[in-house]
Each structure stands twice: as C-alpha cells, then as structure tokens.
Symmetry: C2
Subunit: 140 residues, 2 copies
C-alpha cells in the first residue's frame, strides 16, 4: 500500500462521506459538496478508487442509474453483512438489518451451493412513501 498525504481536498471528501456513512452518492453529487476543495472530477475519482482499495468505500453500479454510486463504510455499521433495499422511484436506500435476510443467505449457501455476499446485493422495489404517493395520484 503506497504512502498518502493529507490534502485539503481529500480531507474534505472523507469528511463528507464519513458524515453520511450509509448513503449512496454519485460523483456529481460529491463534487458539488467539495466547495472548491477538490475541483477536478478526476481527483474525486482517484480518491474514491483509493478509498475503495482500502475498503473504506464501496462502489455500486445501480439498476436505473446511468453512473456509479459510492458508499462510505463506517466502522460500526459496516453494511457488509446485510441486504439493502433501494427504491426505484425516489432512489432512497434502506438497510435491511433483519434475521430473515440472514436466513435466506444461509439457506442459499446450504441448499443452492452459492455463497451470497449480502453487502453487495441490492434488492430493488418501491418504498412505503412512494407507494403512498402513487395511490394518491390515482385518487386525484
């Protein structure tokens, strides 16, 4: 692992991401948050790659999105051991910290011979809020 310096830009990036340890951000969005501390998109990409290598950030290529999203993996809530639910309407990400998900993984491992990496696996659908909104629209 190569030596790294602390720079204004990198600190700002880590500061922002670690303040939102469980959310998915596009590079576009991250750039907007840098407020002049990391002006080149290429630098954002380079720092994100570096953080991915070090296991602090995870990169996702999501259903419905054209570009990748990045997620900071906090120390305590590592997001590596549970499924995520992503709403196809509003894009919100929920964490499924639930024994049923674990059960399914164990079952698949035992009976289907496949080891699921639940942290990498996203279940897509529609969240409660968006379902309510849809119903309202139909009424109106």
């Amino acid at each position: 692992m190569s030596k790294t310096y602390q720079t204004k830009g990198r600190n700002k990036l880590i500061e922002f991401l670690s303040a939102h340890p469980d959310e998915h951000f596009s590079v576009e969005r991250i750039c907007m948050e840098m407020n002049g501390n990391l002006n080149a998109k290429s630098s954002v990409y380079r720092n994100l790659s570096l953080l991915c290598e070090r296991g602090r950030v995870r990169k996702f290529k999501g259903e419905g999105e054209t570009s990748c999203v990045y997620q900071y993996l906090g120390r305590e809530t590592s997001c590596r051991d549970h499924f995520h639910l992503k709403c196809l309407e509003c894009g919100r990400l929920e964490h499924l910290e639930c024994y049923m998900g674990d059960d399914l993984c164990h079952h698949i491992g035992e009976h289907h011979g496949f080891t699921v990496d639940s942290g990498r696996s996203i279940l897509y659908g529609v969240c409660g809020d968006c379902q309510s909104k849809k119903k309202q629209k139909i009424v109106v």
Copy 2:
C-alpha cells in the same frame, strides 16, 4: 405502440435471444452472434430498446460489469417473480426459484413497508463451482 417490420436482422436477434431465455448477454456478445445480419451496433441497441419497451427483454446494469446486459424473458419462465444469483467470479446467472426468496419478499412487504421487485434484484456472491476452484488453488 408503433408498427414494426420484420427484418433479417431483427429476426436473427430475437431468434438468438429467445434460444437462451434466461441468460445475460452483453451487446458485444450479441453483435458477435448476428453473423452479418445486423451489422451496426446502433441497430442492436435500437432493437433491444424496442424489445425492452415491449417487455420481452430486460436490461440490467450489473455489479462488476462496465456495460449493460440484456436478458430475454420467455413466456413461461418469466424471471419476474424470483431472485437471481450472479457469480462475481465467473459471471454465471442462477435462478432462485425457491419459497425462501418469496418468503423474504413477503416479510419485507409486511414488516418493512417495502415492495420488492424480485425480478429486478440480483444477489451477488460466489457459485459452488468457483468456490471449489478457489479451494483447489489454495491447496496447489
């Protein structure tokens, strides 16, 4: 829905895809299979979009892949109602036609207020074959 003609290229595309109703193909791979019947990549994209609109094909943006993959949805095995397991090592896709997956979806709907679209959701991990290969490598 607009009128469509039958053309050599389009027929070849549908013929190829429908012969493999449950696999994921890249545009690159599809082009290779067209054998001169559909020479422009843009035409392949256009036909795939059309088939997506009609619900005969589903487009995926997969974890680990840089480009999209396309899957033909057969009549009987629609793939809309079960999870898929995708191996991060070899890329193979398995169909999880299993009550445990259904149970999890119901549970998430009931207890987490989120309606999962299991057909769009892919569980990533490592398949049995690749696990065996890994073990062999360690031994050798």
